[in-house]
């Protein structure tokens, strides 16, 4: 059986590795799944997983099993009839419970949550900590940086003598930096993880935007895999100033990743879904 991942990145002609969701939800799985490949134009397959791709002509004409994978509600603002698209596929997967719950009333097509998980081959040795923290990192799309890195966060960093590194697709230059030393690094697929790893721990403050309720925890998982704890509260920030607590936290988190957050689990979920669809088709 051949399984193809048709990604948002490919469909929109973006450079390889430039789109986080396509990397995390397709490439990382395909690399670990013998029967799976990244879709190529003209390639025939038995199963097509459309990663945030709403290509109705393909969905209409493709004769094999079709799974629509959704990880953010871009269709809320785009020219996509998501209810109609969902009705034409065999199964829907989502990255979060929130997204699944939102969509469930709109469709009879089964929905399964397959969270963002990690392919550990993409992460080297985790960072080891030996000194007091001097710098924290935030990474992600620039438009999110503007929303979440507010004056309260900056003030909090300043109080602790912490600098901020922003790894993003554009420069984060707040009107008032509160005296925090901000280093901007351009996000590149090749170097981003090395750049992130240069800091002592990560911050990942929640956004107040409406779409945030559907956000996955992938940035937290990536930080952990790189050896960086994620501080979500002031207390955690204080705690992670000390290297021994950072090392301790990472030891725990790496075990958690190994148990719950590796792509092998997602592949198993997909295999179960495909088996289920095949069985249903046989019954019909």
């Amino acid at each position: 059986m051949q399984i193809d991942f048709l990604t948002f990145e490919h469909f929109h002609g973006r450079p390889d590795g430039s789109t986080g969701s396509s990397l995390i939800r397709a490439k990382w799985l395909a690399d670990k799944w013998d029967e799976a490949e990244m879709w190529k134009v003209g390639q025939k397959s038995d199963v097509l997983i459309l990663q945030k791709v709403y290509w109705e002509q393909m969905i209409d004409d493709y004769k094999g099993i079709k799974i629509l994978d959704l990880c953010d509600p871009d269709w809320l603002n785009a020219d996509v009839d998501i209810v109609d698209v969902m009705s034409k596929v065999d199964w829907i997967t989502t990255s979060t419970e929130g997204l699944a719950k939102y969509l469930e009333p709109m469709t009879k097509t089964p929905i399964t949550v397959i969270p963002d998980r990690l392919n550990m081959d993409y992460f080297g040795e985790p960072r080891e900590h030996s000194e007091r923290a001097r710098n924290v990192v935030w990474f992600g799309y620039y438009h999110n940086a503007k929303q979440v890195l507010n004056s309260t966060i900056l003030q909090s960093l300043k109080m602790r003598g912490l600098g901020l590194t922003v790894v993003s697709n554009d420069k984060f230059e707040p009107q008032n930096d509160m005296g925090v030393e901000i280093t901007n690094i351009n996000y590149t697929p090749e170097n981003a993880y090395m750049d992130i790893k240069g800091s002592d721990f990560a911050i990942n403050p929640p956004s107040m935007s409406k779409g945030f309720r559907f956000k996955s925890n992938n940035k937290t998982l990536i930080s952990w895999a790189l050896g960086l704890p994620v501080a979500n509260t002031a207390d955690e920030m204080d705690k992670f100033l000390k290297p021994e607590f950072r090392n301790q936290e990472i030891e725990i988190r790496l075990k958690e990743i190994k148990k719950d957050w590796v792509v092998e689990k997602s592949i198993k979920q997909y295999k179960d879904i495909i088996k289920c669809i095949q069985n249903n088709k046989k019954v019909k």
């Binding site: 002609g13 450079p15 190529k40 134009v41 003209g42 290509w55 002509q57 004409d61 493709y62």
Partner: protein, 330 residues
């Protein structure tokens, strides 16, 4: 070339299966918007072994630019299709300095780089090009001139205006766009005539429709235009120019364009001008101001020439010959 012509020219000879792809310029909706799709064409979601006799892939110099969707389409289809002969239609020339001439690479060296990269993609597959000059440009290839239905492009009573359908953006050097822009800028300074440029400033003239892809409106617009200007000379056999010839326009063409010596006669079926802004605007303005009847006559001759050389019969026969002698025998 336009696929529409191929589908129609070979409608009694072949069925075509178009593999859906996500490249913006080659998506199904682009085909559907441009022309009615004839019955011998079917869109398919993927390639299936054993179903087809040979494959046709479209390529141009931009296919070396991995940032463009069409480069992925060519690369991936070339990988996927391995069991049948492939023919590449290379409808460009190796002019792409915007992409390759960085770090001090000269334009001639840039063309060598493009030539090599494209020929590496094509490999030992059959390559069709649009002109005899293209064979020289690429170092190999089978030239097939396009074949357009004369019934689709009809001359009408001419309005004293000049137009062009040369691409309005991208690949500036290839389209000699600096000259085109200067002509557009300077022409009105003489007697107020405007260069109506498809997809740039002329859509309002189509009235009933809104874009160049509204074919009927464009056909009418072209049929009523007295003069058509083509400032390119590195593009092989512009289809827009042939449509203008069939529409009875008096074509003003910059010298050096591909294969002119094989069909064009200066002052009889075309006006050939040097690559010089002042001489071009002077010529166009003179035609619009003082030489209406002469321009109409040249347009009539242009239509006859286009019917003689760029008809569907010759196009079909050229393709059938190539298919039988070079592709299916492989």
């Amino acid at each position: 070339m336009h696929w529409h012509d191929m589908f129609n020219a070979l409608k009694d000879d072949a069925d075509f299966f178009l593999i859906d792809n996500p490249a913006k310029e080659w998506r199904r909706e682009e085909y559907l918007a441009a022309r009615p799709i004839p019955d011998n064409v079917t869109f398919v979601p993927y390639y299936e072994k054993g179903k087809y006799d040979f494959a046709i892939l479209n390529v141009d110099q931009q296919c070396i630019n991995e940032k463009l969707g069409k480069s992925k389409v060519v690369k991936e289809l070339n990988e996927v299709i391995q069991d049948i002969p492939k023919v590449f239609i290379n409808h460009a020339t190796p002019v792409y300095p915007e992409f390759v001439c960085t770090d001090g690479i000269t334009k001639p060296d840039g063309e060598k780089i493009v030539r090599k990269m494209i020929m590496d993609i094509i490999g030992d597959n059959v390559m069709v090009v649009n002109s005899y000059k293209s064979v020289q440009e690429w170092g190999s290839g089978y030239p097939i001139w396009h074949g357009i239905s004369a019934d689709e492009w009809l001359p009408m009573k001419k309005e004293p205006r000049v137009c062009t359908a040369v691409s309005a953006g991208g690949c500036d050097e290839y389209y000699n766009r600096a000259l085109m822009n200067r002509v557009a800028q300077k022409l009105p300074e003489i007697n107020g005539h405007i260069l109506w440029w498809a997809k740039k400033n002329s859509s309002k003239l189509y009235r009933m429709g809104d874009t160049y892809t509204k074919r009927e409106n464009y056909q009418k617009f072209l049929g009523q235009s007295l003069v058509y200007f083509d400032g390119t000379f590195r593009t092989p056999m512009n289809r827009g120019r042939t449509e203008a010839m069939l529409s009875g326009c008096c074509v003003v063409q910059v010298e050096g364009a591909h294969d002119l010596e094989r069909f064009a006669e200066d002052g009889k079926n075309m006006i050939i001008v040097p690559n010089d802004v002042d001489k071009i605007i002077e010529t166009i303005d003179d035609l619009l101001e003082n030489r209406y009847e002469e321009a109409v006559e040249i347009g009539k001759n242009a239509r006859a020439t286009a019917i003689k050389y760029f008809n569907r019969k010759q196009y079909r026969e050229s393709w059938l010959k190539l298919i039988n002698e070079k592709i299916l025998c492989k």
